[in-house]
């Protein structure tokens, strides 16, 4: 089996599910003839036809609204937003409609749709093409927010997202779209939503992260191991609903926790995780929780980007401080 990248795994999952479920429809800007600006939908229109892979006009609100309408009729739309920064014209459709239909109709309608969007920094792009605003969406009841961090998890989680009966915002960390390759069996096996993945077990400190930051965090964990510090690394994967139990079990074992995220710090997903640990696991802690995070400012352009993004150095020094806390 040949190894594939994260974006190829997205394409493979889409293709698998389209082949096995006629109700799956793809829609978005340039997704058809052009194969998507990141090539995530490459060749899908030629394989499944223009009826099932719809090139839309440049109109995000319409794209998501259309997906919501389709979803209420038994279809399973997968909408692409070209960059996460372009999703805001569709904010109304996502927050006021997609995520509330089920509640308002008391379960008579639900909204099985997926919105895929590349997100995150590290590709030298300007602000809207680089930021991580997952917390805006995680705040909304009725919406799942899922972020894969490897080709395997992209494949398995995207299949799960399409099969899920609720709206899922599926955020793809574009910095690692082509960074690593893995063998990804194309057997249509989904991975569980709403569960964290423990990528490395350890007893000394818990490192909680998601998306592209998983890679920096794993590297730090490996170098810590050389110094005799065994870090447990948790990939949150589903940001909302949050699997706090896995995180708490780990913190109970290690007593120390560092959260690593690209997003701006205030009111972030990291803030929520820290709050829940404080509520339910305060007495496990031997040291204050630390967040290694982006800054409370607009994502800067490439000259300052490396400074903005959590680096291995920043993660390492936060771990060191946490470990050294009496």
């Amino acid at each position: 089996m040949s190894k594939i990248t994260l974006v190829e795994a997205v394409n493979q999952a889409l293709e698998y599910e389209m082949a096995h479920n006629n109700n799956v429809i793809i829609l978005g800007e340039d997704v058809g003839k052009n194969g998507g600006v990141f090539r995530a939908t490459l060749d899908l229109q030629s394989k499944f036809g223009e009826e099932r892979v719809l090139d839309t006009p440049l109109a995000e609100s319409m794209i998501v609204g259309t997906a919501v309408g389709m979803a209420t009729q038994g279809l399973r739309p997968v909408a692409e937003i070209q960059f996460m920064g372009f999703i805001y014209p569709a904010f109304d459709q996502i927050i006021n409609h997609a995520s509330r239909l089920r509640n308002r109709t008391r379960g008579r309608l639900h909204c099985p749709l997926v919105i895929r969007a590349p997100y995150g920094g590290g590709i030298h792009a300007p602000e809207h093409h680089s930021e991580s605003t997952e917390a805006l969406f995680a705040h909304v009841p009725g919406l799942r927010v899922v972020i894969p961090s490897s080709p395997l998890r992209a494949y398995g989680l995207l299949l799960a997202a399409i099969r899920d009966n609720d709206p899922v915002l599926f955020l793809e960390p574009k910095r690692i779209y082509r960074m690593v390759k893995q063998e990804v069996p194309n057997k249509g096996e989904a991975l569980p939503l709403d569960e964290c993945f423990v990528l490395r077990s350890g007893t000394d400190i818990t490192l909680v992260t998601w998306g592209a930051m998983v890679h920096e965090t794993m590297k730090v964990a490996e170098s810590l191991a050389l110094q005799g510090v065994e870090a447990e690394v948790i990939d949150v994967a589903t940001i909302k609903p949050l699997d706090i139990d896995t995180i708490l079990q780990s913190v109970e074992k290690t007593g120390r926790c560092v959260i690593v995220q690209e997003a701006a710090k205030t009111c972030s997903v990291g803030a929520e995780i820290a709050a829940q640990i404080a509520e339910q696991g305060l007495l496990y802690l031997c040291a204050p929780i630390q967040r290694v995070s982006g800054f409370d400012t607009v994502m800067p352009l490439f000259k300052l980007e490396d400074y903005y993004m959590p680096s291995e150095n920043r993660i390492y020094s936060a771990v060191k401080q946490t470990m050294e806390f009496a």
Binding site: P57, P126, Y307
Partner: protein, 333 residues
Amino acid sequence: MDTDARKLLLEKMLYARRFEERCFEAYMEREIGGFLHLYVGQEACVFGVMAAARAGEDAVITGYRDHVHGLAVGMDSKLMMAELFGKESGCCHGRGGSMHLFDLQKQFYGGYAIVGAPFALAIGLAKAIQLQKRDQIAICILGDAACNQGTFHESLNMAALWQLPVLFVCENNLYGIGTRIDRSTAVTELIERAKGCGVTGAQADGQDIEAVFEASKVAVEHVRSGQGPYFLELKTYRFRGHSMSDSNVYRDKSEEEQWAGRDPIQILKNRMLESQEITEEEYKSLDKEILDTIENEVVAFARQAPSPDVEDLEKYVLCDTDGDSEQGVNTNG
């Protein structure tokens, strides 16, 4: 148009072409980061419009393919190049980049990466001009695909309802990234959609700068004389991919070749050669002069300019809370 005016426009278009080509090289050399959308092939549009308007005085707002718009309002190309290089000396101090050029002195309210957003911002500019009775118009320049965004309809409706002093210029290059206009748009003559919103207007050949200029004179006169908004649709074509990462596989080669034969610079140059207003030698020496200026002044300036300071990262987020007392020029309101 007299010879001097023609010469000036030819020079401006050629400068813009060479500027964009130099940006391409700098991007390949990784001196420019982020995304880069070149205006090659479309030069007649913005220069034709701004020749009819008051460049540097009328308020201009546009999308992300904005370098040449910056030149057309009279921005200093050194500060533009420094911005593209992400440097502190850039027009946004290296915070905006290629898609977000800005120059308050030139009343250039900037490039915007979010397609469609400037339509609505232009309504605000125009409403303020109207309320404050300023001798100025607002000019909003966007692409064809942008006209499918909700803000197009929302904004044109307001412009007509309030009879705002705003000129909408649509650079219709037939594509939004890889999607051809007839695959995304039911009414492909965009002027018809503007009329449907109650905004009058016209179409013009966007490859012929004199045609653009003549049409723009009518348009600007209409808006400036208080007759309300105007929509000018310019038929044009971008000669390169959408951005540097564009595979450019979606266009027919024959279509590309056909448009390549309608290069706005060649059209004006040939006209001037025929009427003996310029010689091939003069053109060549002009070209060489431009290339030298761009290399030795513009690129050299951008290269040696300092990078932004990490200490400033969290400044200018909110007024007064970042320890910086500098206020916007609009705070006297």
